[in-house]
Assembly symmetry: C2
């Protein structure tokens, strides 16, 4: 509940940009996946940092929880409001503020999406490569330390946020980092706020690293006798310094679904899909070298191409996979697992996950950002059926337990939110207490996105 | 002062590995540069993490400052003991614990030096590329977020520390990070301890990322009519995705010193030195492409080579530069500046710095890791002459003030220590208060490397 005097302060500041309408609250309490609806008590649509700071200051004074909202595409209930409070929706703060081409930097507001940014960059020869699939907001991507298919070459949001402007829990505004490429000037607060899921403050501006659009791109696809062979090919390619821009794994279950759905005629085996970025000669050489590696490790039917339309055709199985998988069970909701393990253990992790899914009543084809050791099982459930949701959560937790035994992590790129909170102690041990100490130091009243990430009181 | 009962506890634990001899204390109070000697009251030489934790617990109980020590090569007095206390020297914890070749990771103790690590890796085809010049310990390099000539391609210590074991201020031992290539599981504590200069805890184990030894290397050298032309060539090369492994600037003053010292016969102009890593064809193509870029921007006498002995010859001006510069004034101590600016502002920054050094009685040739926007003026002083030391500090502070105006940082790779403490508020504003809050949360009694990095009470 928001006290009446706080509400009237917010309304007098924001006018119609402060809403308490039922449908708007419901929208901001929803999550992409199985989490139940947890709506806030109000939603604010600020126009600038000054307004965000003033909103947060009002909430601090009245003890009102504050939750940041980008596009609502988080997968673990990050932006839901389990304790009510005020959701700050950044959709009006969506501008590209500055493109600094020589420094290969861009300054954006948090509500700007990655696709909008790349559209804005089109004439510059520069690109922002982090691609989590969804057209997420950049503030949200930073807050969940998102990554996706291109992380194997370009890195995650951790590697792309050069500097931040942040509104702290008491309404103070700080700037972290500089525009310089590196710094040894004290604690890396930028890295602390990236992945903090809004529990330490609200990001109101980001300075992001850009990359040159590659002169040429080649794409390749290859079937493998075994998952192990595919992963060994990946390991060898990385050790040889091939540095593919994307390196995706598609499992046998997915290939069978694609063949059944539209007669794709793919060899019934796991596949790797690759993309190389560089010069004309470089990407041709890289694709050829990968072919040699694959041939030694049980690879079949290796094909590669550099023309855009041929590349799209080669990658179509990956592009169609998620929706074709979901279409096998109309009305189903996907619960997507997200463990990440050292690549040497990836074959073992995927092998055990496949066996556990095979032994379960649920279907769960596996796709993987295999160069990072990160894979996703697309567990399909009827979210109205508690037994199915529980079974999916059991499978996901079993994958996490195994990943932790293998030296991995509960979440490679989706984040903690509500869905992975119960696994943090197992992953971090006493280091989770240290996260709690940092949280209390920066947000002593526990108002920033409460209920998420750190131990709950 | 260490109370007698604390000292006897430490001696009964460590025996002769706890010293209070004058020469040992003096050695651990010394710094590479102008800072006065600030010795600790005792030095401990632990053998393992358990001992470090026990030592820190004793110090916590008795209120004794604890300072970590690697090789003593820090440049800003990071490891001196302005408040006395106990220095923990990691020289006996210098082992490579595990090489995980498939995961391209290595686990080391903090006292292991980067050269010792690379020697150990020789048979594996892997390398650890971060190269700050000095043969520093890896724990020290992590603690100062060190980098050096290869950061333009491979990144800094920030990019190479995958996981840590840390002894906290109260003696608890935590592990941060995992062996997985990426994670979204909570606050990035690894990034928080990297660059914390031992003020939040002592690093007792590091898991570091490795890279494949490149199949081929090419080196190149080029004179430029102007510093601006050289920097424009660097910017264009980066935008074109050339990704050199090293890209070093040597100023006109340095070239004149080299010509005078040993008749080097170099064209009297600023130079760039480059190194490319990749395949045989790739590094040849990169070197050729850079030549085309340089020719358009006032480059002269461009030469490149791939054979090891030819490469060494091309780079000899860079390898000899520091010592040849120092030899111009026998007995002088170098005060080395370390600002880092956005690369678009680097010409302006070096231009103003050169003018200010020219107007000063001190000499200060400039070398730069120019792909990062980081440069060093080698200011030569008689450290017994307070006026000269003050003039060098004035010049260094003026470069920092200008760098901050240009969106840069006071220190690109050397760190804060004692020498840059007075500049932190100017660089970070209120964010420096946040660093203080984190410090108090993790080290409430202020015993971990006191007097450094955060605001002093």
């Amino acid at each position: 509940m928001i006290p009446a005097d706080a509400l009237s302060e917010l309304v007098s500041m924001l006018g119609e940009r402060l809403t308490t309408g039922k449908s708007d609250l419901a929208l901001h309490g929803r999550s992409e996946t199985w989490h139940p609806e947890m709506p806030p008590d109000a939603v604010a649509y600020p126009d600038d940092t000054g307004e965000v700071a003033a909103i947060v200051a009002v909430c601090a004074r009245h003890g009102i929880p504050v939750i940041g909202w980008g596009t609502g595409t988080a997968l673990e209930g990050h932006a839901s409001a389990p304790r009510g409070g005020l959701t700050v929706d950044f959709r009006r703060m969506d501008r590209v503020l500055e493109v600094a081409a020589e420094d290969m930097l861009v300054r954006v507001q948090p509500g700007c999406t990655r696709e909008a940014l790349n559209t804005e960059l089109r004439a510059t020869g520069l690109m922002f490569p982090v691609d989590p699939g969804a057209n997420a907001s950049l503030g949200g991507m930073a807050s969940t330390r998102a990554s996706g298919t291109t992380a194997v070459r370009y890195g995650t949001m951790h590697d792309h946020v050069r500097a931040l402007e942040v509104v702290l829990a008491d309404g103070r505004v700080i700037r972290t980092g500089t525009r310089a490429a590196k710094s040894s000037a004290g604690y890396d607060l930028t890295a602390l706020f990236v992945g903090a899921e809004g529990t330490l403050g609200l990001i109101t501006e980001l300075t992001l690293k850009l990359h040159g659009v590659p002169e040429a791109i080649s794409a390749a696809v290859c079937g493998f006798d075994t998952t192990e062979g595919a992963i060994d090919a990946v390991i060898l390619a990385m050790q040889m310094g091939l540095a593919p821009a994307r390196m995706e794994y598609v499992d046998l279950a997915t290939v069978r679904i694609l063949n059944a759905a539209d007669d794709a005629g793919l060899p019934e085996m796991p596949h790797l899909l690759l993309e190389f970025h560089g010069t004309e000669e470089g990407v041709a050489a890289d694709a050829a070298r990968f072919g040699e590696i694959a041939a030694d490790l049980g690879g079949h039917d290796y094909r590669w191409a550099t023309r855009a339309e041929d590349r799209t055709r080669l990658w179509s199985m990956r592009h169609r996979a998620y929706h074709t998988i979901l279409a096998t069970r109309p009305g189903a909701t996907a619960i997507v697992t997200d463990v990440c393990v050292p690549i040497s253990a990836l074959g073992q992790a995927i092998g055990r996950a496949t066996a556990e899914i095979d032994a379960s009543p649920l279907d769960g084809p596996i796709l993987g950002h295999v160069g990072d050791g990160n894979y996703h099982a697309i567990l399909m459930v009827d979210r109205a059926d508690p037994a199915e949701v529980a079974e999916a959560k059991r499978l996901s937790d079993a994958m996490v337990t195994h990943a932790l035994e293998l030296g991995g992590t509960a979440t490679g790129e989706h984040g903690v939110g509500l869905g992975k909170l119960h696994l943090m102690e197992a992953e971090h041990g006493r280091a989770w207490d240290v996260m709690g100490a940092v949280k209390r130091a920066l947000d002593p009243d526990g108002l920033m996105n409460p209920g998420k990430l750190v131990r709950q009181n």
